[in-house]
Amino acid sequence: MNLARSFIFTRVAIFLFFVINLFSIYLLLRGHNHPGGGFIGGLGSGMSLVLLSLAVGVEQMQKVLRVDPVRLATLGLLVATLSSALPMLWGDPFLTQYNIKIGGVGLGTPLIFDIGVYLVVIGITVRLIVILARPVEGLCSLTPIERTRYASEIEKPIDQPIEQKIETNWGGQG
């Protein structure tokens, strides 16, 4: 389906896409001591992708994103988990953080954890929106490669005729 889009909206949205992403990275970085952080930054970045999908279409947006959003979220989860599990190697409690200062700039492992959260939130936001937006544009809700990863070939493992299902109902024939 070819949706007629306003030229002004498309141009402004493409411009805003970069601005919002820049701002979301700013939110991510300031999150350690100020309001912000991986979650809110990720939401911002995810929203910018949603805006882009409205401007140029979902398929085009997925080409910009390039990666499968679930993979992105998984990668983020992996980063966050590893950064929190690493201190266990030398006996510190799970999720211990280390902070250092290099030339007045505070750096620490919470940033790695936050980047993980950032990726998870982008992945999940995009996943949720894409799966709803693709049918609106007349596309199958999963791309062919996602279908091999996240869909099953069969509906039901157990053969269950319809009569028996009626019995499962409260008001059904006993």
Binding site: T81, Q97, I158, D159, G174
Partner: protein
């Protein structure tokens, strides 16, 4: 002790690996190895806590009032071990049931995320973290319920989603309320500050709210209708995991909250709990008798067994709590094995509708023996494992003079036996030439092997009932005398230079006994 975090971390890493790998034999190998390792870690945790008492870990090295603690006491470790064993059995069963090509690729990642939520809710020592764990668990369970669902199944799953979403909302409100009363969400600290506040109406309201929330999760009497219709839509291995572990989380949390956290002299509420348990078991078993397909019968039986455990919690004596814990060990294994038997029946007969299944005793006597052992154990026939749990509950009930409830419990047992015999008669004993047995489908051999292994495990519970009951007594002792639990948590606080509440230096009796409200500094002016 980082070992406490391992039961949460391992399934998380497994889920990530399963999401990144292709659904093939390699992934299956990795997942099974990880699940086996989870069982080993959990058993190590049981041994360690049985020897040393509770182990606490402050996450991120933050002291308790600000940081979250994970605490493994004997009860939590037992529950984690049971979850590990049942998830291993269910995953192996799922692998033998479906080839890689047909299995839903998201089933394993979601099951592992579910395990994260389960283990976290067993291990956490913080009320808000418990809420988070519940959410992780519930979101995975919503996804798993509707993963391979058709329209009908989604209709059945909807009440599950709706009631649990409302339950979570009330839970969150209750958490906020608890923070308002006690100024902390840490179990150990709430336990200290709440001691002697049992006359305070706010504590009573909090307890009622929590009872309602966990009652929903466990499937207690007025709000149980979501359970018996939603569980049958699950595929067999998932039904085994859900039926074995998921509703038991509600029971565990009731034990934890009423045993360790809230004041121990809320006797009115304990009576309510006992009666709710009684009504639940009766209605559950009547529902089970009315059903005529295996998964439906077993789903109603979950309710009835939950009733037994809640009844024991309601009696609220160290002996009854020990009975509840032992009953939990027995019931988790038996219930999930019965679901596995049901799955094997539906593979062999092509259906688990009792009207259209027959001839199985002749085809697979081994499965029949396994079913008999499990079914009779569920009904509580001596000397099987269910008998000892029920015996302990009945003993304590008689000691407390709750004759009506004991009568209900025994009555329920007879009906349990009746419904088990219904399955036995229809599926195994009846001979009907018109019903085919798909013995040529070789998958049943593997499935029967898994089922029989689980049945052997319940036989082992029967044989080692003595040591296991002793273990339950130790766990119940730990719950009842909160001293060791509180000390393990507050030690973390003291290690980091935190100011520990005065009660830690007070001898234990002063903390647990109902004391005059005026001596509790946490009581606000109004209550004094």
């Amino acid at each position: 002790m980082n070992l406490v975090a391992m039961p949460i971390l391992l399934p998380l890493l497994t889920a990530i690996a399963a999401l990144l790998l292709r659904a093939d034999t390699l992934r299956r190998g990795i997942v099974i190895a990880s699940c086996a390792f989870q069982v080993i870690v959990a058993l190590a945790l049981v041994i360690l806590t049985a020897r040393q008492g509770p182990i606490a870990l402050s996450i991120g090295d933050w002291a308790p009032p600000f940081g979250i603690v994970l605490v493994a006491d004997l009860l939590s470790s037992i529950m984690v071990a049971l979850a590990g064993i049942i998830s291993l059995a269910s995953i192996v069963y799922g692998y033998l049931e479906l080839p890689c090509r047909l299995e839903h690729p998201l089933r394993i990642p979601l099951t592992q995320f579910l395990m994260v939520g389960l283990c976290q809710s067993f291990l956490t020592g913080d009320l808000f973290n418990l809420f988070v764990a519940f959410e992780v668990m519930l979101i995975c369970s919503y996804a798993l319920l509707t993963l391979e669902a058709d329209d009908w199944d989604i209709k059945q799953a909807f009440p599950y989603l709706a009631i649990n979403a409302v339950g979570s909302m009330i839970f969150l409100a209750a958490v906020a309320f608890a923070y308002g009363i006690f100024g902390t969400l840490n179990f150990a600290e709430i336990s200290q500050r709440a001691a002697g506040m049992s006359d305070d109406p706010r504590v009573l309201i909090l307890a009622v709210l929590l009872l309602g929330v966990f009652g929903i999760k466990a499937g207690l009497f007025p709000l149980y209708f979501w359970l018996p219709n939603s569980y049958p839509i699950l595929s067999t291995p998932l039904a085994a995991l859900f039926g074995g572990m998921l509703t038991k989380v509600g029971v565990y949390v009731l034990l934890r909250v009423f045993g360790t956290v809230l004041p121990q002299d809320l006797s009115g509420l304990h009576t309510v709990l006992a009666w709710l348990g009684g009504v639940t078991m009766l209605l559950g078993v009547i529902g089970a008798v009315s059903r005529n397909f295996v998964r439906g019968i077993l789903s109603f039986h979950i309710l009835s067994q939950i009733g037994y455990m809640v009844l024991a919690i309601g009696f609220f004596s160290p002996y009854a709590i020990a009975a509840a814990i032992f009953y939990n060990i027995h019931n988790n294994l038996v219930k999930s094995s019965l679901f596995l038997v049901g799955g094997t029946i539906s593979l062999l007969n092509g259906t688990d509708d009792l009207k259209r299944s027959a001839n199985l005793w002749r085809a697979t006597p081994l499965l029949g023996v396994a079913f008999l052992l499990l079914g009779l154990s569920l009904a509580g026939l001596p000397p099987l494992s269910g008998f000892w749990g029920k015996l302990m509950i009945v003993q304590d009930g008689l000691r407390q003079g709750e004759y009506v409830l004991i009568f209900v419990a025994l009555f329920t047992s007879i009906f349990t036996l009746l419904s088990m015999m219904k399955i036995w008669n229809a599926s195994f004993w009846t001979q009907d030439a018109s019903v085919p047995v798909r013995i040529h489908d070789r998958r049943w051999i593997g499935l029967t092997a898994v089922t029989c292994t689980m049945a052997l495990l319940t036989v082992a519970v029967t044989i080692f009932a003595g040591p296991l009951i002793e273990l339950s007594h130790q766990a119940s002792e730990e719950i009842f005398k909160r001293e060791t639990y509180i000390r393990a948590v507050l030690q973390l606080k003291a290690d980091r230079g935190g100011v520990v509440d005065q009660a830690v230096s007070v001898p234990f009796e002063a903390v647990s006994d109902p004391i005059d409200g005026t001596s509790n500094p946490w009581l606000p002016e109004v209550a004094r």
